[in-house]
Symmetry: C2
Subunit: 439 residues, 2 copies
């Protein structure tokens, strides 16, 4: 991508309204713009990152056997009255009246609507288990929206819903999602910690939150030190096998959100338990027949008995994840994208656009790298060196290739790692060699 063709409106100053680092950097790097309190537009750089996060999540859901659907943003009030949640949900639910005075609402979550889809079409045990997921904008009318996309009102969520014939099968479906979540966060370069959690307005008997440890996190959490660095020895997940053992490996550690933490139940010998803060990026629920009973979503078993289906629901906050990834990957100069998420791997910076030698070598390199299938952003603007270098650090691509008149004279070019800050001076051939071996 040529930077002169890419809309990247960076800000030089820290915006006053932003309190936490991800919000500051997302505004400064031209990723988002507020359109109303807690409601944001995603500018091109933000859109690319949101798409990357979304796609990793989608691919893992498909691997785990879920079917993608797309439910609308607006829902009829009737089904929420059926489940009993229409009044319960309170002021966070955005209620809407259409021109014919019918009650609609902007979906904060989709248990009711997906149950309505299920009961319309699925009647027999033969069609189970089934998992339906979608990726759609939700709205929760927060009292105090803040921290940019971390606590917005209109936000993008992946939500999946499992349907099973009985409790045991339903727990298997829950386990599949549990492990899929561990996988998808890992694929985003994130270390997510699963924790026992409250079920809140979704309901149910079993629930885990997935938490990214960060000082700026809103949730207070209690977690065994060892879990923070724990990696399962299972490297290749087979979603067709029973995953209970793999789930147990994680849940055998003590880890709980503040609401679930019980001091008395845990003897903190040798100080193995730590109290810290984190960002909730996923939340899964097993609630059995909570919705299928009032909404009469029943299925026939082998004997012809009609049984309310067993369900679970599984959410990932995709727009929030963009903020969480920045909270976990930055320094005082800007964002440091993990390789799994970065919009481009390389940032070619032409320090003297308009100079024939600089233009030629940059453009040759850019074309060669693209021809080799590499992802490159080429800063071909005519701004000053200082502004270009500061912007490159702010937008945080893993490698910068810096080319100016001095380098051309010496035939040595700077390759800078954004993360370590280390700069290597390489000849053109060494540079080509490096980028070809670092695909």
């Amino acid at each position: 991508m040529l930077l002169t063709r890419f809309f990247l409106p960076v800000l030089k100053e820290n915006p006053k309204e932003a309190e936490i680092i991800s919000h500051i950097y997302m505004l400064r790097a031209g990723m988002i713009q507020q359109s109303a309190s807690g409601i944001y537009s995603w500018l091109p750089l933000g859109k690319i990152i949101l798409e990357k996060v979304t796609d990793i999540c989608r691919q893992e859901m498909i691997k785990a056997g879920a079917n993608e659907i797309l439910m609308p943003t607006l829902q009829p009030a009737e089904i929420w009255k059926e489940s009993g949640r229409y009044e319960d949900y309170g002021k966070e639910m955005l209620r809407i009246n259409d021109r014919n005075n019918r009650d609609l609402l902007y979906g904060p979550t989709n248990e009711e609507l997906v149950t309505e889809i299920f009961r319309t079409h699925v009647k027999s045990y033969k069609e189970l288990p089934l998992n339906l997921f979608h990726i759609q904008w939700k709205f929760r009318d927060e009292v105090r929206p803040r921290f940019g996309v971390m606590r917005g009102r209109e936000f993008l969520m992946k939500d999946a819903y499992s349907f099973d014939m009985n409790y045991n099968s339903s727990i298997k479906s829950y386990n599949i999602m549990f492990i899929a979540y561990m996988q998808l966060f890992k694929k985003m370069g994130l270390k997510a910690i699963p924790m026992r959690a409250e079920t809140g307005p979704i309901g149910g008997d079993l629930s885990h939150e997935f938490i990214i440890i960060a000082e700026t996190g809103e949730s207070e959490v209690f977690v065994e030190r060892e879990l923070l660095n724990y990696e399962s020895s299972v490297t290749k997940i087979n979603y067709n096998e029973d995953l209970q053992e793999e789930v147990n490996r994680f849940t055998s550690f003590y880890a709980a959100t503040k609401e679930k933490h019980e001091e008395s139940n845990f003897h903190n010998e040798d100080n193995i338990l730590i109290k810290t803060r984190g960002i909730e990026v996923g939340h899964i629920f097993h609630f059995g027949q909570k919705y299928s009973l009032p909404m009469r979503a029943t299925i026939s078993d082998k004997e012809g008995n009609k049984i309310p289906v067993f369900m679970g629901s599984y959410g990932v906050g995709l727009s929030r994840l963009v903020g969480a990834i920045i909270e976990a990957n930055h320094d005082h100069k800007g964002i440091i994208w993990p390789k799994e998420i970065t919009p481009w791997d390389y940032n070619i910076i032409n320090l003297k656009s308009g100079d024939n030698d600089c233009d030629n070598i940059c453009l040759n390199l850019y074309n060669l790298m693209k021809a080799n299938g590499l992802e490159v952003l080429y800063d071909d603007t005519d701004e000053r060196t200082g502004a270009k270098l500061a912007r490159a650090d702010l937008i945080g691509l893993p490698y910068q290739i810096i080319i100016g008149p001095k380098g051309i004279k010496d035939q040595l070019y700077d390759l800078k790692s954004r993360k370590s800050g280390d700069i290597s001076r390489l000849s053109y051939n060494e540079l080509i060699n490096f980028v070809q071996t670092n695909k």
Copy 2:
């Protein structure tokens, strides 16, 4: 994809609420489900098609130099009051009050919000021309939603917005979008006819609708017979060149919607003009400074003068297109997907699932085809032959490979073209040969 793992709830009967063929088939083929009047959920088959249509549109926008952003579904009322459209828009606009009693609305279109983004960041002629597009759900509170996704209330639209320094440059941007639209509809296997059109509530001096001719279309149109089959001789579009001549090739024909048609201006000699019906799938507008003047979106020219920016907007109805494609591609048995849009190219149908020979040959073929990069749906369900064949015709993949005990005995298998209905009886090697040469 194994059909036993794909959620495809087909209906055997024609649903009573559907009046036109695309609506009937989308319901029967398990593509959509109504959740409220004019508001639909997209089930897996529908979601795949919607994604294909969206992706073709997105790719052409990117080729044409546009930058993808993503604006929210909800907008603040303030900017609509600035442009003067808040009252004008009438009851089609869904107005919402949040918990703090602030006025929001569900965006029916995005001229105001994109102008707000533009004026915040762009100040100089050096940053122009610029084209920002997004793909997002819109809401228009139609009096009488009908025809399924063809006239829904919540609908998916791609809308692009161009920004230029002066009138001439702005017309160039309009022409780029005009040609991009011709390209993207062609890439969907559609013949779209550009027609002079009314500008309506968007405004401006120049506008074209892109119409798919269909008897069930809502718009009455007048078009020169020759244009219906006209193909430009230009096969490779270069968006960096002046496209006026290419635009003129299309606009030199007479073609107008009913509102723009003037009988007296056209001498219908030799009966070259026909009156027919069509479906509007795209609409482009050039409106100059209509929004930039009241919203003070100004840019500095070379001399430092501040000039309200020249704009155009360009919409494609993506969810409606799924219906339009079916209106243009079907027979009495069901949908016939054009190859550009089909979710899979091949439908392997096992007439006797559970029979070892049938299962083996189907699964071998399925695996071989997938290994060769082919897109295959394998009907491995245990339903009856009649139901399987009817469903295959209904969901309309281009080729069916039908394998049953009789074929296995004769070592000859049926390859059926969905469009022509022709069936060839091929040996296994001939079948492999066919699919490998028809990638």
